[in-house]
């Protein structure tokens, strides 16, 4: 699916909730069900440190698509991480680089991605796009 299609899907899923508490319940659920990251990547080398919660991120290139795995010590962060992975994982480097990720704002979680909110998520997106850029460069070199 295209990134924009997944974003629309998420927005419509969230539109079912009137109450913010239900929204957060859903995020917590998603956080809990985020596939585990390979323990070898849960080290300082892969950490994206924010003030509030830690995020670990790993990326690998497979068949021209980027495969992300991630984790966080805070569940809400983990839930949003899982949304980001749903949108950006298994996409091409080019699509990742150009993704605008407006859905976070649209589902009412904007503050978690505000660049002034030191929670590691902004740095995480930056890092995801950086991985994509590196992979793209690698792919171009091979051609």
């Amino acid at each position: 699916m295209l990134i924009s299609e997944i974003e629309e899907q998420i927005v419509s899923e969230f539109s079912a909730f009137d109450d913010w508490l239900d929204k957060y319940d859903m995020i917590v659920e998603m956080g809990k069900s985020l596939p585990l990251i390979d323990p070898q990547y849960k080290t300082d080398q892969f950490i994206i440190s924010g003030c509030q919660s830690k995020v670990w991120l790993h990326a690998a290139l497979k068949d021209g698509k980027v495969h992300f795995t991630a984790d966080s010590d805070a569940i809400i962060t983990k839930g949003i991480v899982s949304l980001l992975l749903r949108v950006l994982s298994e996409q091409s480097p080019d699509d990742i680089i150009s993704a605008s990720l407006g859905f976070v704002d649209r589902i009412g979680l904007k503050e978690h991605l505000s660049p002034t909110r030191s929670n590691g998520l902004t740095s995480m997106i930056k890092q995801m796009k950086l991985y994509a850029l590196v992979f793209k460069t690698k792919m171009n070199q091979k051609n």
Binding site: L21, C51, Q52, S53, K54, I75, I76, T77
Partner: protein, 407 residues
């Protein structure tokens, strides 16, 4: 508690009528920054509408008026902390600047390679890193005193670190994470018996407790306006006159200068010697209004009311299953840091916020302490004298909601 006029006081703080997420704001982030009473906000407005001017050295009406008002507040601050003289009251931009000023000037004057400076593991970064970096730079040893399980300073351990190479002890009056009120008088007396001066970081002290620097006999005492109901951008450094006289100036320019020649410069007397650049006259006016406001209520009354709030919160919150109080010192200021089972502080804080309650989460700029405790941070509710037991009840309800959500 019953005769503390909290309703009247609350009506002095416009922001407390504010709604967040369609709920009345409950503001429990007072250790980070307090709200401002109308009296302070009005003082700022009045200053800009009637008296605004650059001060000192001006001969015209506004300048003389603003200068006098500025120096009047210096007298108010002197009285507020009971310094001996207004020459001992330096206006800075905040506690952090006060601390950096002393670290820089004291370091240059007194700290040589091999010397030692002692601080504690519960310090705010602003009273930790300036000393750490100064020690690195000057080849001195940076020593850090520890705490016990309740979060109380290991006073014996600190005393044991004092030796003939100790140049200064820098420690906080009140911990901004644990709430611990340190036995500073005892430490100061001990240090002085060994000829060691003591700096007190009063950022969390001066808004909660009556402070008498002469009775404490501390050598330096630092605090911020914005944590004591005054505006941002203003702070105070108290220092004993004899010591301040010895220290070299810090920043250059403005009223701190006496005469400038191409090949040398002479500096002004205390307190001006340490006030470089156009001062924040507005901030000083606001600080003056805040001090008058606090004096009006009475620091003793504030301390008593806040002690009651702390007791209430401690009792109510301790009843919550799985709660872990971080900091259970016998002498505590009115804040509670806690963790809920395995729930991450960020998760708890996010939900508590959505319920209209402002608490702070994270390491509270005290990473060495958080590292020592091996926790991911804490959730901290810090109380001011405008808070109420009813608000604490709401916090308890919010915590129960958080537990339900994440457990």
């Amino acid at each position: 508690m019953s005769n503390f006029p909290v309703d009247k006081i609350r009506s002095d703080f416009p922001i407390l009528a504010q709604q967040v997420y369609k709920r009345p704001l409950i503001y429990f982030d007072n250790a980070a920054s307090t709200q401002k009473p109308r009296q302070v906000i009005d003082a700022i407005r009045h200053y800009y509408e009637y008296d605004n001017c650059n001060i000192h050295r001006g001969v015209h009406y506004l300048s003389v008026k603003a200068t006098e008002a500025y120096e009047e507040v210096r007298r108010d601050v002197r009285e507020f902390v009971n310094a001996k003289s207004t020459r001992e009251i330096i206006f800075t931009k905040g506690a952090t600047e006060s601390l950096n000023l002393v670290a820089c000037s004291f370091g240059r004057r007194y700290v040589q390679p091999g010397d030692e400076v002692i601080t504690t593991i519960m310090e705010h970064h602003s009273n930790f890193v300036p000393w750490q970096q100064m020690c690195f730079e000057r080849g001195a040893k940076f020593r850090v005193a520890g705490i016990n399980a309740a979060g109380e300073l290991d006073v014996d351990g600190l005393k044991a670190q004092v030796n003939e190479k100790t140049r200064l002890i820098a420690l906080t009056h009140v911990s901004n994470v644990l709430g611990t009120i340190n036995p500073i008088r005892e430490i100061i007396a001990f240090a002085h018996a060994h000829n060691v001066p003591v700096l007190i970081d009063g950022a969390q002290g001066v808004s909660h407790l009556p402070v008498d620097v002469q009775e404490l006999d501390c050598d330096f005492y630092c605090f911020s306006g914005h944590k004591m109901y005054a505006p941002m951008g203003i702070g105070v450094l108290y220092g004993k006159e004899a010591l301040l006289e010895e220290l070299p100036p810090y920043q250059m320019g403005g009223e701190m200068i006496k005469d400038v020649f191409v090949d040398h410069t002479t500096f002004n007397e205390l307190p001006f010697k340490f006030e470089a650049g156009t001062p924040n006259v507005e901030g000083v006016m606001g600080l003056g209004a805040a001090i008058r406001y606090l004096k009006n209520i009475g620091m003793e009354n504030i301390a008593a009311y806040e002690a009651d709030l702390l007791k209430y919160a401690t009792v109510k919150m301790s009843e919550i299953e799985g709660i872990r109080m971080i900091g259970t010192a016998k002498h505590k200021a009115s804040l509670v840091s806690f963790l809920l089972g395995k729930i991450h502080p960020y998760d708890a804080g996010t939900i508590i916020d959505k319920l209209g309650i402002a608490v702070r989460t994270g390491h509270h700029c005290a990473m060495p302490l958080i590292e020592l405790l091996q926790i991911p941070g804490t959730v901290r509710a810090s109380f001011a004298f405008y808070n109420t037991e009813a608000e604490i009840d709401q916090l308890v309800a919010a915590i129960l909601r958080v537990k339900k959500m994440f457990e």
